[in-house]
Symmetry: C2
Subunit: 376 residues, 2 copies
Amino acid sequence: MEKQRFSVTYSITTETSTEKEARHKAFDICVEQTVEFPYELITDTFIREEVVGRFEAFKRDAKDKRRFIVEISYHNHTVGKELSQFLNVLFGNTSLKPGIKIESIRLSGALAGYFKGPRFGISGVKKLTGSRSAPLLCSAIKPMGQSPRELASLAEKFALGCVDIIKDDHGLSDQPFAPFKARIAAVSEAVRNAVKKTGKKTLYAPNVTADTTDEVMARARFAKKSGASALVISGALAGFGTVRRLSTDKSLNLPVLLHPAFTGSFTAHSESGISHFALFGQLARICGADISIFPNFGGRFSFSKEACKAVMAGCKTPMHSIKPALPGPGGGMSVESMREMKKFYGSDAVFLIGGGLFRHKDGITGSCREVRERLG
Amino acid sequence: MEKQRFSVTYSITTETSTEKEARHKAFDICVEQTVEFPYELITDTFIREEVVGRFEAFKRDAKDKRRFIVEISYHNHTVGKELSQFLNVLFGNTSLKPGIKIESIRLSGALAGYFKGPRFGISGVKKLTGSRSAPLLCSAIKPMGQSPRELASLAEKFALGCVDIIKDDHGLSDQPFAPFKARIAAVSEAVRNAVKKTGKKTLYAPNVTADTTDEVMARARFAKKSGASALVISGALAGFGTVRRLSTDKSLNLPVLLHPAFTGSFTAHSESGISHFALFGQLARICGADISIFPNFGGRFSFSKEACKAVMAGCKTPMHSIKPALPGPGGGMSVESMREMKKFYGSDAVFLIGGGLFRHKDGITGSCREVRERLG
């Protein structure tokens, strides 16, 4: 593939199981995602040959004869330098057609350079949390409805239990129970005080998801000033370009945890949408996630072990200059399952454990300590 | 339902067809979308009774015994005043669970007041385009790859054909072929000159989709200064809160066409995601869309007639102070199908016709005139 092109591998599920139907649908993608115009009416050679998407590979799926795997490349110029337009070329209108799914993305070096990806990546986040070789432990303060003081008290217990990262529940935003500034100030102070006692590098990641990029950035700046040392954001709610803006801001310089809220429909259909590998792995990194949060297998969500393995692979697959990110499985994590989880995910992961910690006989601080011990 | 609460009606598809399973899943939604915390461990009465979602109605679907329809209400305070957090409460984590779909939304008066909805709505847009009683005709300039001058020349032909709205194709952003400012300046000028000749109020709507809210607003301001009279934005690409920001900005004061790019996965699965009624109708309006663009039936997309009817209904269903929006079906529109489309959608609609216009024997301007004649 030429340097000025990037590519997307789609799976196409046909009705007739014929190569003819698959090639027809694939050509439709080439046109729909770029010119969106009757191909036969285009006279300009550059547009016909360079702008319209181009077949790079085509094969029938080995396991499912209705399914075909097609790699289509696009010119970097179709994207300009914008993440929003990149997502549009990948899947804008085609998302509205049935039986087409993004399986993986092959970036060009130029696009990787524009998008930048995570600032810290796996090794950067590990360093910030004290370079322990074990998986990182992350807990969320909640429930929604508590006051800043109550949430701060819970954060203190987590910090005294030496968790690696304390995050806001993604449902804590700017609500009357606990307005953003009062909440962040109280929790930051509690974590700071606890850290003085433990000497452990515990990060605090407030949720900065908001309606506009400027509001997200204002909250992030306030959070940093208050002592926060990481940030959580839900990309589908705040906008994916806003995540990138947050991640690449030099004066902030904080690791970003990307939350998957409102993205479930992309992976709900086996023949449509975006694969776990591409969505929670590759695209999360392209947006700038240092940690990609996703639903763990075996818990209250429905992700399979295979899907979780795919996320892990997408978090680590080479993409030019874009660093690998830490997979952050959450849901279905218990104190008891920590060793099994470590076996499955390895040490380059962040385990989000919530409800499980509250049910422990020794209280929250005790259960955090026990989890860390089990993680080795 | 109390004034300080709003509600969401979900359909829940069960595996066992039992009311027990459905009630269990429904209660999970009440908890997951708010406190995300073991309910039995919550001691605070306000949180248990007000913050956790509440059953308002529950029934088995009349046509499908596996399916149950559940209305769950949430306290306004769970949302604060933010659209991003509203979407999060509606479907954040629950989007990641199988067999749950948003069917419809019942806003509270307070939330309707915060969100505001479309500034112009159906009657406002009709007035801007000359108060004709027929459906409005909208054409898009494309293909991607053309220069500003080529695109301007096409816009001129559309304007001379007296279309109501000329929009940028949603794939035109800020690319080397036609950088945003040069493109908008050239097209605006061409439309202005043509309008002087026709005397017809033709609106020009540039695509202002970009990575950050500030960039979207900067492009919108530049567009307005250049003479643009409406705006197009893809909400899933730019962020839904950014659409609201654009729509509510007083100094801009321009109608907003919301494009559905990248939203297809929400409606791809019959048992999961968001209904056509809620997504392209209600939520589009809550974001501030004056015109909600969506894939028409019978064209290259796969929407059924029933789905298109549901969009229409969602665009017009009462929602407190939020105005109705114009449904904007696109795809599968031809010069020949205009009368059928008018019969189906009525006069309060915008018909997006693209490729069809280019195939006409009398050229583009002639075909635009013929379409307007057929629309009555």
